[in-house]
């Protein structure tokens, strides 16, 4: 019977509206804003339950910190993380094991929400946001290239970064497209570089620095160094921070005739 009902055609206007509740921390609300700006659903299709965020623990970093032991259970007590592990009880300071993106988070409180839970979280350290990028920019071009290929050589193209990314939702990703075939399917390393480059480039004005891609990467590719550069450029060139407000539309979908920088244009 249930199956029969599911097969029945319902006119769009008779369809019951389903509202989805989302428990969202700061970066999740940024993702939601991007989805709303890209018209993936309407604002009243989601009920946003905002929660302030003190940062997430970086699982890989934690594992290294406790010497590779398996964690059985853990509790947070004050600034300390207490765990029962296969190696006995361990305690680490929470601030030592937070994910990199959380340490320099600028939006740790929800930007939009229908309901807020708890009191606003204290600010993290957003001033240090681009320190990594600035340091990398100062290196010579050959050093930068060497670092890029070194990182991309680790990539096994499992596409975990894409699957985990809240901004990657194209029905057909360019990776799977075969006409034209943007990315070769062999194990050629330039294909991996091109794949990564283009996935990173697709994050212009869309990366919310949630750290999902970094945390799911099985090979530990340093994606954040490149994503942060895109974020920095976007802010410097178009003064846009991805998903920072509903009014600030995606930077590549608009233009500003009088203020867009054109100094990169070649003039013989």
């Amino acid at each position: 019977m249930a199956h029969k009902n599911s097969q029945k055609r319902v006119k769009p206007e008779d369809r019951k509206k389903k509202v989805i509740g989302v428990v969202a921390r700061g970066c999740t609300t940024r993702s939601l804003i991007i989805h709303l700006q890209e018209r993936q659903y309407e604002r009243d299709d989601v009920c946003i339950i905002g929660v302030p965020c003190d940062g997430y623990v970086d699982g890989k970093g934690l594992k290294v910190k406790i010497g590779g032991a398996d964690i059985v259970e853990g509790t947070v007590d004050g600034g300390q993380l207490k765990m029962k592990t296969s190696d006995g009880d361990k305690t680490v300071a929470l601030k030592d094991v937070l994910a990199e993106c959380c340490l320099t988070c600028r939006f740790n409180n929800p930007i939009i929400s229908d309901v807020m839970i708890g009191s606003p979280a204290p600010a993290m350290n957003p001033d240090a946001e681009y320190n990594d990028v600035k340091e990398f920019e100062a290196k010579s071009i050959e050093e930068r290239w060497a670092y890029f290929i070194k990182e991309m050589e680790k990539c096994i193209r499992c596409n975990a970064c894409r699957q985990a990314c809240p901004s990657c939702y194209c029905p057909t990703c360019f990776v799977e497209q075969s006409q034209p075939q943007w990315v070769g399917i062999g194990e050629d390393k330039t294909d991996t570089q091109v794949f990564q480059f283009m996935r990173l480039y697709h994050m212009v004005g869309r990366c919310v620095d949630c750290g999902s891609c970094v945390s799911v990467c099985p090979m530990g590719v340093d994606l954040r160094k490149f994503l942060k550069k895109i974020d920095k450029d976007c802010f410097e060139m178009f003064s846009n921070r991805a998903g920072s407000s509903m009014e600030d539309m995606p930077p590549l979908g608009k233009y500003d005739e009088h203020h867009d920088k054109q100094d990169f244009i070649y003039n013989p």
Binding site: F197, M198, K254, N267, P268
Partner: protein, 145 residues
């Protein structure tokens, strides 16, 4: 082929992706006016620079182009009103990001050439060819076939 070209000076291969309404017409004018410019450039005509997927540029670099030139109408003169301005933002990001990962900025060039600027078109091609020549053959992100 490599034997023949071994003693010749190396010549760069440059892919120029140009818009139909301005730069392509400008190139046409350069041809009609018999202005000489280096033959290193392979022109691809697209309806508008806004039509160019940044992937075209990355793909061209991967498949062995030593340089990529993108050229469209001057700001405010786009046949489709704002295609070049939207493209301008895309390219600003792309160029900066390519440079960040270590691909020389001079390999990807962006410029505006209008339909009446045959002379400028020849100048641009000369300039780009000289710059790419100075960099030498592309060896980053180039696929070996």
């Amino acid at each position: 082929m490599s034997e023949n070209s071994a003693n010749k000076e190396w010549e760069p291969k440059i892919v120029a992706i140009v818009c139909n309404w301005c730069t392509y017409a400008g190139a046409d004018l350069a041809g009609i006016s018999r202005i000489q410019y280096p033959p290193n450039v392979r022109i691809i005509r697209v309806p508008c620079t806004g039509r160019i997927n940044p992937f075209y540029i990355v793909k061209a670099l991967q498949e062995g182009a030593d340089g990529v030139l993108v050229s469209g109408c001057h700001p405010g003169e786009c046949h489709y009103i704002s295609g070049n301005l939207v493209a301008c933002r895309k390219f600003a990001m792309l160029k900066s990001f390519l440079n960040y990962i270590g691909i020389e900025g001079d390999r990807t060039m962006f410029t505006w050439v209008s339909a009446s600027e045959g002379d400028r078109f020849a100048q641009v091609i000369r300039g780009v060819t000289t710059k790419v020549k100075a960099l030498g053959p592309a060896n980053k992100m180039v696929k070996k076939f």
